[in-house]
């Protein structure tokens, strides 16, 4: 079984093949082209150049549906469940058992039970998909993919929201499926998982194939080096921390949604404090709550000694706090407007930018150009629409918005998702500069190496609560990971 396609726009000249009975791990940074590659294989969109073959025969996929009919099933990170339908209806969506055109509900219920049994997932087949937790939805997605009796299975970070125990069941299942001759493409960022399940590893960087290696032949650090193209040390700057007074503090913060419970953290001027945790652990919600984007039921937010009873973005900006959202396109940028307007957006009310509501366009242009130069925006054209910039440069525009004001506290929420390595280095350098000039930085990140190298102190979140605070030498990968998962008695 093999697939090849030299040349796709987000991907250039990728040769990739998958054998039956193997787990082939795709490894690379966000934006390296992993999702593009699996989307092509799963039939979401066609390659612009190159070809694919399935069992030696040329393959042209018309749609994800077509791919599924050929036995290619994918579990993406974005879930494809219909939230208002039950688990079993979701499992059989598009391939319902029917008898003379009428749904055969008994057969559907039976099939669902069998699949869930096989996976040892404990989920009520009649529950509404939307009422399940993220982890349970992930299980349903996996069950749905297995249900179709695939010959190729694509798993995109399947353990991202599973507990260790559930992940172990998944690994056992993967081994069984391998023995049955399935080919599995597996995307993960976790070294441990590569060691546990991978047969071969393909490393992608900036849409290009770096190497395909046997999993038994590589070390962790050589993989990271292949992935980033740098030795690890060159990627992260060393920051001279000089913790001063407490700038940002939460006291017993509890959200109405219950996603954050009784969280007390503090961030001092001149330091980078990390917030680690799995997706859904509440780490992102803390940053959002501080900026007034989540409803707080108990506890308080304290900025520079003042208790802020009802945080709002406007009030927080006025107090010198800025929140850099994780999803640039969704919450950060007005894509069809020029860089200049995007960078000055949060600061237009200041006297530098407007007087009595009338814009001072020349000053605005000057100020923005200076910021763009400082951030090394490429291309350095502030009149260009933001949509035409690369991910890394778009992120600089979002950061630049914080620089247009006098900001003392930066909350970075996943600042380097979908950012190429070069821009990453620049963003890290920028954080170093801010921190050494005395800014307080709260770094919320799922990128563990980033967190470990940049923060001098880190909180680890688990199910809405602070599980641990790790300072200095105690801040290690093992220590953070140990606090990520549920403590399971039967962990392998």
């Amino acid at each position: 079984m093999s697939k090849r396609f030299p040349g796709v726009q987000a991907l250039r000249d990728i040769d990739f093949n998958l054998r039956s009975g193997e787990v082939h791990v795709l490894f690379g940074e966000n934006g390296a082209g992993k999702s593009t590659l699996i989307n092509i294989i799963a039939g979401t969109f066609p390659p612009d150049e190159g070809k694919m073959t399935l069992r030696g025969r040329p393959l042209r996929l018309h749609s994800p549906h077509h791919a599924r009919q050929l036995g290619i099933n994918a579990v993406f990170q974005e879930f494809s469940l219909v939230p208002t339908l039950s688990v079993q209806d979701n499992l059989y969506l598009g391939r319902e058992h029917t008898r003379a055109g009428i749904l055969d509900k008994a057969a559907i219920a039976r099939g669902t039970m069998e699949t869930l049994e096989l996976l040892q997932f404990h989920i009520d087949p009649k529950a509404q998909a939307g009422s399940l937790s993220r982890a349970e939805q992930q299980m349903v997605e996996i069950a749905k993919a297995i249900q179709g009796k695939p010959s190729i299975l694509i798993l995109d970070e399947p353990t991202a929201s599973l507990t260790e125990n559930e992940a172990n069941h998944l690994f056992a299942l993967i081994r069984r499926l391998k023995e049955d001759g399935l080919g599995i493409i597996y995307i993960t960022h976790r070294m441990q998982e590569i060691r546990r399940v991978a047969d071969r590893v393909t490393v992608l960087r900036d849409g290009q194939l770096v190497a395909t290696v046997a999993a038994s032949d590589v070390t962790e650090s050589s993989l990271v080096e292949l992935m980033t193209g740098h030795a690890v040390d060159a990627l992260y700057p060393s920051i001279a921390f000089q913790p001063g007074q407490v700038m940002l503090q939460t006291v017993g913060l509890t959200l109405t949604s219950g996603r954050v419970q009784d969280v007390s953290i503090d961030v001092r001027a001149g330091e980078v404090v990390g917030l680690a945790g799995l997706i859904g652990s509440g780490k992102s919600e803390i940053g959002r709550a501080v900026f007034g984007l989540e409803s707080i039921v108990r506890g308080s937010v304290v900025i520079g000694g003042d208790v802020v009873s009802h945080p709002t973005p406007r009030g927080m900006l006025d107090r010198g706090v800025v929140y850099i959202p994780p999803d640039r396109r969704e919450e950060g940028l007005v894509a069809m407007r020029p860089v200049r307007e995007n960078m000055s957006l949060a600061a237009l009310g200041l006297p530098v930018f407007s007087r009595l509501g009338f814009l001072r366009r020349r000053l605005e242009g000057q100020t923005v150009r200076e910021i763009a130069k400082r951030l090394n925006l490429r291309p350095l054209n502030v009149e260009r629409e933001v949509a035409y910039f690369s991910g890394g440069n778009q992120q600089k525009v979002v950061l630049g918005r914080g620089l247009a004001r006098d900001v003392k506290v930066f909350i970075f929420d996943e600042p380097t998702t979908g950012v190429d390595v070069g821009a990453k280095v620049e963003i890290y350098g920028f954080m170093k500069e801010l921190c050494e000039r005395g800014a307080a930085i709260l770094l919320i990140s799922s990128d563990l190496p980033e967190l470990l190298h940049l923060a001098n102190r880190s909180y680890v979140m688990h199910r809405g609560k602070v599980r641990a605070e790790l300072v200095g030498p105690a801040l290690t990968e093992e220590a953070v990971l140990a606090n990520f998962f549920d403590l399971d008695a039967d962990a392998a």
Binding site: P313, P325, V334, F358
Partner: protein, 339 residues
């Protein structure tokens, strides 16, 4: 072996297609349409390019231009306003009623009567705009439902208020000076339209209010995270739109010399068509005010031309609807080509 993708690639790099796309996506389809329509009507009917007709077209277009300015602002902020027609009708009957009764009681102070009528008319605009704006911004009613509902409320109110018959007896100062008057050979409403256009251009181009409209329409969440009070600005744009519609309503009332409860029904559709054909995106955050003004001019020229060549009014209605749909399809295509 890989012929299909290769062919597609060749097609994509076709020079002519690229050039056409570049022109369309930068200036839009409007200048081309405008030229075609003018040339066509000029060739069909010699009266079309007479000075009398051109002045007439310009005066006719002022009402739609003023309404379209407001509609364009709402569209840029990511909404739309279907109640502009109802605002025109209510403004017309309410201002006419106040003006005529005030004039009947004080026949010697025409100017005061006119000012009272204009003030009341603009107040109608403010009230409609506030209701729309609060509904959309505070209670999160979709602009479609909110303004459709207010369109029905307004139309019903205008009919109820007058019993369905026109209100007459307005001071001659109003109907003569504003309705049919000319300054330096140019009809008065044209000055009004120019003033409104300049006002809106300044608001959009040189104030933070205008900048925020684009930000809210382009990405509401990003605007909110940038500390912009999104609700206040959203509400204010509906007030602005209704005020402009009320202004058009007053000018139309002066023109017809009576308060007409049936006035303005075509304006919601025509103003949206004009704005979209002028390059204002239905998804918000994009478009230029001058484009919308040209769009309004185009619609009026088209209607005028169709009248001159004696096209049946039923067909004209069909044509306007078809043009709206084409403009929206083009709007979508432009979006796709640009990426």
């Amino acid at each position: 072996m890989t012929t299909a993708p290769m062919q597609r690639k060749v097609l994509r790099s076709n020079r002519f297609a690229d050039l056409t796309r570049a022109i369309f996506s930068s200036v839009g389809i409007l200048p081309i349409l405008l030229a075609v329509v003018i040339l066509y009507f000029a060739s069909q009917e010699s009266r079309f390019y007479g000075t009398a007709n051109l002045t007439n077209v310009l005066r006719q277009s002022t009402y739609l231009i003023i309404v379209t300015l407001g509609q364009a602002l709402v569209l840029i902020s990511g909404g739309f306003d279907l109640s502009v027609g109802a605002v025109i009708a209510v403004t017309s009957v309410v201002s006419a009623r106040y003006m005529s009764s005030h004039y009947a009681a004080n026949p010697n102070s025409e100017l005061t009567s006119v000012l009272v009528g204009v003030g009341v008319g603009l107040l109608v605009g403010v009230v409609f705009g506030l209701v729309n704006g609060i509904g959309v911004a505070r209670f999160q009613v979709s602009p479609f439902i909110m303004t459709l509902g207010m369109a029905s409320v307004g139309t019903g109110f205008a009919l109820y208020y007058t019993g369905g018959s026109p209100v007459s007896g307005m001071p001659p100062l109003f109907t003569r000076e504003i309705g049919t008057g000319r300054w330096f050979e140019i009809p008065v409403p044209i000055y009004a339209a120019i003033a409104a256009t300049i006002l809106v251009l300044i608001l959009v181009g040189s104030t933070s209010w205008g900048r925020y409209l684009y930000a809210i329409g382009g990405n509401t969440k990003a605007a909110f995270l940038s500390g912009i009070p999104v609700g206040v600005y959203t509400a204010s744009v509906y007030v602005m739109c209704s005020l402009l519609a009320a202004m058009a309503g007053l000018l139309l009332t002066a023109r017809t010399s009576s308060g007409e409860p049936n006035l303005g029904g075509q304006y919601p559709l025509e103003s949206i068509t004009a704005a979209v054909i002028g390059g204002i995106s239905l998804r918000g955050g994009e478009g230029r005010i001058m484009g919308a003004v040209l769009g309004a001019l185009f619609i009026t020229i088209l209607t005028n031309g169709m009248n001159l060549i004696r096209m049946a009014s039923y067909f004209q209605t069909i044509a306007i609807g078809a043009i709206l749909i084409l403009a929206v399809i083009f709007d979508r295509l432009r979006d796709r080509w640009r990426v």
